[in-house]
Symmetry: D2
Subunit: 109 residues, 4 copies
């Protein structure tokens, strides 16, 4: 599979990584950050798997499909948590998580 | 420089990575996790640089010394934050951070 | 699941990460490194998933089992490649890969 | 410092990460990959620091500047190696490395 083949999915993963990290940073600064524990935790999980998946696809890893499969699961879990919270950063993060989950699901095939 | 040369410093980094991640998980579960924001943030920073430094040293990276230099800085910052908190996981994490900072400082030379 | 629960599997992953990176470095220096392409590639894949799995387990990731499942697959692939080559670093790496695959398989349950 | 502040530098790092990984994959497949050892090694070093720097900036790491400083060094080393080789993937990688080094140098301030 070629570098180009992965292009769209890599871009979704890198966008999702950035939004998750932004949400993580913003959650840590919220006045009631104590209520945001699950969101903080899942933001890190999701940013890390997205970074890992993007690296794997861009080096044409033989394991890219399986990595995208687990990335789908983690993006969905993070999106489901984030969408419960009214903060703009959580809502925007949820949207990016679901878009990334969709791209990874196709890639995992 | 050889794999063996790095052995002690790699071990300190990997121990510190584990303690930082353990402290991160425990802080997220504390009743007053809202007060633990800086600790959570620095635990992640420190776990990530320690993992990165251990990978770099074990693959004999030409940049291992500079990476250990920044690892020293981050370990000290994390240790200084953790030692402010009375939780056992914070105190143990602080100890590991300072030990790792010391090993990385020697390596950075 | 607790930090301690993961202890043995984390240790196997971190040992395997180091041996894979050592093998990667040594393969790049071999006179006939052109024949070692698959070994170099899989050493990086395996070191990276092992580092990722160890981080995930030590922060008590909700996705630790699935991550260990894919780690099993990658460790086996790397071990199977490395055991084809007579270099000491390849043989030692293969042994560590198979031991890590076994620990991750149990964890993935 | 805000998420937006880092935007351009994050984008350069993520582009550079992809080109380095693409060059790494292509070098491993070259007929004379034995001559490409330093390029393969530096491509991995550079992809990994770029991924790490992008993660750090997007989570508003207190250490983003120091991380960008070391990223500058590694991007330049990788660019200098890649530009020695005539392959298209090496030449394109070199260009991206130098552009990323420039963005990181500004960020490191």
């Amino acid at each position: 599979m070629s570098h180009e083949h992965f292009k769209e999915c890599i871009e979704e993963c890198l966008r999702c990584m950035q939004e998750c990290n932004h949400c993580y940073d913003a959650c840590l600064k919220e006045e009631h950050s104590g209520m945001m524990g699950e969101c903080i935790r899942l933001d890190r999980e999701c940013a890390d798997i997205c970074a890992y998946a993007a690296q794997a696809m861009s080096r044409n890893s033989p394991f890219a499909k399986q990595i995208c499969s687990i990335c789908t699961t983690i993006c969905e879990a993070c999106g489901n948590e984030c969408k419960k919270h009214q903060h703009d950063h959580c809502q925007r993060c949820a949207e990016n998580c679901f878009a990334c989950a969709e791209a990874c699901r196709k890639m995992a095939g």
